[in-house]
């Protein structure tokens, strides 16, 4: 490997969190972003081609060395590391809404989920997956929430744009009410509704 690739490898090994490219560039004043990127590709190819137990992954707005998935079971069995707990359905729903609609207040999240989300927001905030990013105008100036870099890490995303675009989904998430039925209800509905 080139000296720059070795330097980056050492820095990536020393860090527990993904390192953004601009921070990697600070390791060597002579290296351009292109140099950094080619060195990163070199490390990645090195790990892949020579069959290393770790791989270099672009995640959470930066680069990180991670163990390969096939060794997870053995590592966990030996109690050397433990997989983080899965998020509950309530937490995932809340995160999904915040990810797409940030900055967003508690009331708006509750409107979409149809339930109270106060305690879920608190848990997500404590886990560092969301943060307060501002306050809305208006009555009470409610807190607005957004996702954090840790959110990207948790969901193996390089950036937020990597989430499926709303129009790629089967049903688009709309801000304006969907026009449902211009016509009166169907015959079945009428028959049922009539006293």
């Amino acid at each position: 490997m080139t000296p720059l690739a070795k330097l980056l490898e050492a820095a990536l090994f020393a860090s527990a969190r993904p390192i953004p490219v601009d921070e990697l560039a600070a390791l060597d004043n002579d290296a351009s972003d292109a140099d950094i990127n080619s060195a990163l590709q070199e490390i990645r190819a090195h790990y892949d081609d020579e069959g290393h137990g770790v791989e270099l992954v672009e995640i959470g707005g930066g680069w990180q060395i991670l163990t390969r998935a096939e060794y997870t079971e053995a590592i966990e069995r030996a109690q050397l590391a433990a997989r983080p707990q899965r998020l509950s359905a309530a937490a995932l729903e809340t995160l999904a809404i915040i990810a797409y609609r940030q900055p967003i207040g508690r009331i708006e999240v509750e409107e979409i989920r149809g339930v109270n989300v106060g305690s879920v927001l608190k848990s997500l905030h404590e886990r560092g997956l969301i943060d307060v990013v501002g306050r809305a105008e208006g009555l009470g100036r409610p807190l607005l929430y957004g996702t954090t870099p840790l959110f990207l890490e948790h969901f193996a995303l390089r950036h937020l744009e990597e989430l499926p675009r709303a129009d790629e989904l089967a049903i688009a998430l709309r801000h304006t009410p969907v026009q449902v039925a211009d016509a009166p209800p169907s015959e079945a509905e009428k028959a049922e509704s009539s006293p």
């Binding site: 969190r17 998935a69 149809g114 339930v115 886990r127 989904l169 998430l173 709309r174 009410p177 049922e192």
Partner: protein
């Protein structure tokens, strides 16, 4: 499907998502960090499950039937967050009532179910996103990063804002609180055993039997007590007197004659 707006893309519900399924997982010991006690993550989840189970068209929901089923499910499930579900139940009943009202102009008539359908579609789409996110989180869970995390940097100290008089009074307070050490000399005071022996002998000359309290005053200084004790033991060793204590912590009895029957008995 008569009532579907032609602009609205009609798509089957996403295959991956089954309403209520995830909540049920959480019940059988899934390691979710927010424990969900109910099988549904909310009233909209329950409603979508009903629409699926009853095989009805989401754009033409038979409100009366669904509302009835909704109430039955709430009752049988014993849901914890009853308030959220009851609000939805009330909404369903209100829509049902609105549908029963006579309609005026057909052009101006607005389907009271429209808002509910919009919310259901929005919710269903969000569940689709959740599926994508959950898949990715599961992939990431299977990879470990380095575990070392540097300590959080300590928050910088707030700059000290203080007036001169406050500073001086603080110094004064500290100086006043400093404890003035009480210096004194320790004087070694030798025991005077011969004098104590003499005193005991003269007492025994007057009385055949003594008590410890006769030998030493209650408020005698320690050196006198120790002198008397050592003198007493010395006299006992010489056979000039006998020392006895009838029971633990009782007054020590001192007798002149070693053959005294009282001291023998003790």
């Amino acid at each position: 499907m008569t009532s579907v707006n032609p602009e609205m893309p009609v798509t089957p519900p996403p295959s991956g998502y089954v309403p209520g399924a995830r909540g049920a997982q959480a019940q059988d010991g899934d390691t979710s960090f927010i424990v969900e006690l109910s099988a549904y993550s909310g009233p909209l989840d329950l409603l979508l499950a009903l629409i699926r189970d009853e095989k009805v068209d989401i754009y033409d929901i038979p409100i009366a039937r669904v509302a009835e089923q909704f109430l039955v499910r709430i009752r049988t499930l014993g849901l914890n967050d009853a308030a959220d579900y009851l609000e939805m139940a009330a909404r369903l009943l209100r829509i049902k009532a609105q549908l029963l009202l006579p309609r005026g102009d057909a052009d101006e008539w607005e389907d009271p179910r429209a808002e509910l359908v919009r919310r259901l579609l929005e919710y269903q789409q969000m569940r689709e996103i959740v599926d994508v996110m959950e898949r990715r989180a599961d992939e990431r869970r299977n990879q470990f990063a380095r575990a070392y995390l540097p300590d959080e940097p300590a928050p910088p100290q707030a700059p000290l804002a203080l007036s001169l008089s406050e500073l001086l009074s603080a110094v004064d307070r500290v100086l006043r609180s400093v404890y003035e050490p009480n210096m004194h000399d320790v004087v070694a005071r030798a025991l005077d055993i011969p004098a104590a022996i003499q005193a005991i002998r003269s007492l025994l000359a007057l009385k055949a039997r003594l008590r410890w309290t006769d030998v030493v005053d209650n408020d005698a200084p320690p050196w006198q007590v120790l002198s008397a004790l050592l003198g007493l033991l010395e006299l006992a060793r010489l056979g000039e007197l006998r020392v006895a204590q009838p029971r633990p912590f009782a007054n020590v009895e001192i007798s002149r004659d070693p053959s005294d029957p009282a001291s023998e008995a003790a």
